[in-house]
Subunit: 215 residues, 2 copies
């Protein structure tokens, strides 16, 4: 993969990274509408962002636009995909075959974006060896070996809070490089990527804003 931001070397702010998927989505949409170029101004309008922020964001990786013309849609889409590493075919397993785990396993869309879900794991013997869609469910006691043997990159944890940290530790010792956590706890691991989906936190923020609105 080409390395954007070759020379500057400065770490890009998280706030910037969080906006890239939105740019990516909008560029996919524009592409589907056969629009081949877009100005930072027009893009900003559709995303409710300042044009200058978009230019600033993109320029932390390189100059992808052209003065007087704007940005080439398909090209920029590909560049952002590359920056986000979403063409990498990351390998993922899901731990916890409860509601959330099964929902994730059925979420085929992920596969389109370069995420390959290999299997589910659970500690419930009644669940083990079942299939969800094309997805096998294995015993969680075999998780570490599976991660090692299959070079799993990402472990999605959709398990009760009290076992989340220990399963994260186990996964990392087995060689996983990222944890996608769905339990309402903070996971602490060194030198590993941790990304949280905190549904209850999100609902609480919503609740706060609702309270403010109706006050």
């Amino acid at each position: 993969m080409k390395d954007y931001l070759c020379d500057k070397g400065k770490k890009v702010a998280d706030a910037v990274i969080r906006r890239l998927p939105r740019y990516y989505r909008q560029l996919c949409y524009l592409e589907s509408q056969n629009i081949s170029r877009i100005s930072s101004n027009a893009l900003g309008e559709s995303l409710d962002l300042k044009a200058t922020q978009i230019r600033q964001d993109l320029n932390s990786f390189g100059g992808f636009g052209q003065q007087g013309y704007g940005y080439p849609v398909s090209e920029l889409r590909d560049i952002i995909a590359d920056i986000l590493s979403i063409n990498s075919q990351w390998k993922m397993v899901i731990v916890g075959a409860g509601n959330i785990g099964r929902a994730l396993s059925g979420y085929d869309e992920f596969m389109l974006e370069g995420f390959q879900i290999l299997a589910l794991f659970d500690n419930d013997k009644a669940m083990v060896d079942k299939q969800f869609g094309r997805m096998p469910v294995y015993d969680v006691s075999t998780l570490a070996d599976y991660i090692k043997e299959n070079h799993v990159d990402i472990v999605a944890l959709a398990v009760p809070s009290r076992v989340t940290q220990s399963l994260a530790d186990l996964s990392i010792r087995a060689g996983a490089n990222a944890i996608w956590n769905f339990a309402p706890v903070d996971v602490f691991c060194d030198d590993v990527v941790v990304e949280n989906i905190h549904l209850t936190d999100s609902l609480m923020a919503l609740s706060y804003n609702l309270g403010q609105k109706l006050k």
Copy 2:
């Protein structure tokens, strides 16, 4: 409900609000361990935050601590719950009885926190009038009337991207005050609370960080 931040009147920064659920979680945990007081320093250590940030955050709502002593755990927990309005028994419906929608409907934990899920809605006739757990599934054509009649506060949208905006609009016209969106699109609505769970965006940020780590 008592009104914290009575006089100052300044809008509290979103970044602060997003930390409150973490404080809340940790305080619940401390309470379960029968710890009755905590200093900003100790709390900061367990959450990997600076003590001064916690004090600053809390002081945007009022002075809940005591010099030389710290903060009373149970009391502070209750205060934060109050600030977040999570004792309000908000009424919620879920639109879309697919993987995500069904997962949410089974997520009882929400109810403990003051969220009452009333029903699911779907446009698939085969789905309508089924039950998931204790949760009925209704035809989506009856959604607007249901929202009106039952004074639904929150509409969780777990439907395909292309119908998300129109269902949000419909829900708001019917009287809903908040949208909890699970589709990978930006929802635009005026004067309404919108909270997004963008699973793919989250995975993309994870992917970016993974790419950086393995580079």
